[in-house]
Structures are given as C-alpha cells and as structure tokens.
Subunit: 109 residues, 2 copies
DNA sequence: CCGAATCCTTTTTGATACTG
DNA sequence: CAGTATCAAAAAGGATTCGG
C-alpha cells in the first residue's frame, strides 16, 4: 500500500522549495491575476523588489517551465512574461492552501 | 475585485516557508501515515536525520499548532507526537501538489 | 530516551552600482 | 528598459558533543 520512499515526494519537496524563494509566489500570483503578458519592470513594480531578486525568480521560473519569456523588441528592450499553462493549473493548489488557512484560522509564526 | 494586497497571502507565504524546512514535510507525512502516536526516536529513524534537525522541526510544528507533544513518562523519557486535526486536514493540499506533479509530469531542478 | 548547546558550512538574500 | 556583477549579511543546515 504505502511505499517506503515515493520518489514523487522528492519532487514535491522541490516544488515547495521553489515556491518558498522570496517573491516567487508573489510573482506567480501577479502574473496569474493579469490577463495580458507583463513586462519586467511592470512585475518589479507590482512585487516591489529589486531587479536582482525579480530577475533571479524569473530565470528560475523559466528554467522550470513555469514562465515563458518573450523578447518583443531589442532596442529599446521589451520583454514579456507569461505563465505557462502548467503554472496556471497550479492555482487551485495555492487556493486550497489559502482556504485551509482561512477555514482553520491558521496563524503561523 | 482584486485587492491590492491580500493579508492572507502573507500567511500562505509563511505556510510554504514552514513546509520548506528540511524534513518537515517528511515528518508530517510519517506522522500522517501512522495510526498511533510516534516517539521521538521512531520519527528520527523514519526520516533518517539528526536529533538536532528532528527536534527543531518538532518544536516548530508544535509551536504552530500542527503537532501535539505528549510527555508520557519522565524517567525513562517517553514522549509521543501526534498531528493535530488541523495538520491532518492539510493532507489533501499536499496531495494536490503531488497530483499536479504527476499529471503535468513536472520535473523541477 | 529525548533532547539542548555549540560551532562551523552552505544557501539565500538584497543593496548597490553598472551596461547595452 | 531589462537586466548583470559584486559582495556582505542573514538564515538555515548539519555534525558533534553533552546532559537529565
């Protein structure tokens, strides 16, 4: 019934580890709540962070297939970011955390 | 419609941050898949970690109302740990991450 | 058995300055 | 505008040792 060590659990760990990076969840939510693709500076303003941090997160998201980076123009630079469908389909999971916290009135330290 | 900054999101962040602590999710799953309360050393063996790490996680879990610590005996020491109902009710959320990873065949770095 | 204390390493972060 | 480079500080981890 229960396996001694399910290899998928390691992947759940990596998912949580990724989500835990600073501003990453915030970036995903901003992109998710936005109909159109968003530009770098637009995202940066929304999450109120440094370009270093925003850049790091966007790279990680892209490398993991959760965000699509699209260079629209070179000079002046214009780059657009969109969530992939995989990333969007994670929204209900995030929502279930949200619901759990509200329903059980959880306040973590 | 959409609020500028939903305060519950900060709590979602803290949840993810907690889940991300090393071995924490593992400890929760071990406790969840175990009918009876578990002792410290039992948990330690199952997750294969140092007493320092296991201790840290159990303290955090207890402080956040996700685990109940019950001192059964003083000498010799015997302490039992159980998930709270709140913690157990988080299982479907973890499961939905699991399902997402499997269904979308996600392999994060 | 169940931890606490110590100490050192690794990881992550974020500020600042700079570039095409 | 969209990043990169650098670097210092903070956070987290883990091994070891000790104690009631």
């Amino acid at each position: 019934m229960e396996r001694k060590c399910d290899p998928v659990f390691a992947r759940v760990d990596r998912l949580i580890s990724l989500l835990n990076r600073s501003k990453l969840l915030h970036i995903m939510m901003v992109l998710n709540n936005h109909a159109a693709p968003m530009r770098f500076t637009e995202i940066k303003k929304r999450v109120d962070s440094s370009s270093t941090t925003v850049n790091r997160r966007l790279i990680e998201l892209e490398q993991n297939g959760l965000v699509i980076r699209n260079v629209v123009n070179d000079a002046p630079p214009m780059v657009q970011y969109t969530l992939t469908q995989d990333a969007s389909s994670l929204a209900p999971t995030i929502q279930s955390m949200y619901d759990w916290i509200v329903e059980k009135d959880i306040h973590l330290q």
